[in-house]
Symmetry: C2
Subunit: 146 residues, 2 copies
């Protein structure tokens, strides 16, 4: 886990907030800590229900490297991946998943700020990084579009 990458993802999420997308940013890093791709959610602009930040970043990285596997990669995303994204992440072989807001971000006001992590199916699946900033972005976007 490298906070630097999460901060980049957070900045991408902030940009996508301005573009009226669901503000989620994502960075994909290879084993030598090089950023291979980054993205933000572009569902609305692209009329594409699969254009979640994670999927866009994975598609970009695979295209760039001419592969369908991203073994030894880490993914940094500002929101806990949904089932679709989680499936793709697992399919491509990514085993290090770091996220900001928990997917029940809407409830953040009811919780204290937390930064704990948990393990999931032998993967390093850690959440809560910049959780407050990541989830407030999403809450604000939801309120803006109400």
């Amino acid at each position: 886990m490298n906070e630097h990458f999460m901060k980049i993802a957070l900045n991408l999420a902030k940009k996508s907030f301005k573009n009226n997308e669901i503000p989620v940013g994502c960075v994909l890093v290879d084993e030598s800590n090089k950023i291979i791709s980054s993205s933000s959610n572009s569902m609305i602009k692209n009329h594409d229900p699969t254009s979640h930040a994670e999927i866009v970043a994975i598609r970009k990285a695979c295209k760039k490297l001419k592969t369908t596997k991203l073994l030894n990669f880490s993914i940094y995303t500002t929101l806990e991946p949904c089932k679709m994204c989680e499936s793709v992440i697992i399919n491509v072989g990514i085993k290090k998943i770091y996220f900001g807001a928990y997917s029940d971000a809407i409830k953040i006001h009811e919780r204290k700020l937390r930064n704990y992590f948990y393990h999931y199916k032998n993967y390093e699946f850690l959440g809560g990084f910049y959780e407050k900033e990541c989830s407030e972005l999403i809450i604000n976007a939801l309120e803006k579009n109400r």
Copy 2:
């Protein structure tokens, strides 16, 4: 369920077999029984782990209709959707899912040909249409690439 659409999906799968892709075809039909998009798996050609037939067809239909929802659509696919595809199918609101081969197609030799169906979470999720043809295509592709 309209066998005509499954046959079109099967023909798309056959074409993708010739192109050395994983031979899965898919057709998306709106409520007036009009085909809005069709596709086959193009993971290998596109270096895109998300280019399963179902995802490609959904992306095409959404782009065409400038939407991220495909309510009242039916999806015909020659292989039981994987978790990623199933998530997207559910996310876009498709409730009628018809497939050919079961995802454990590799075991078809151990089973009798079957054409039963089952219900899943209130969705019409029916499998086994042209099961023999759909699954043999996949088995042959796996053997070819061994």
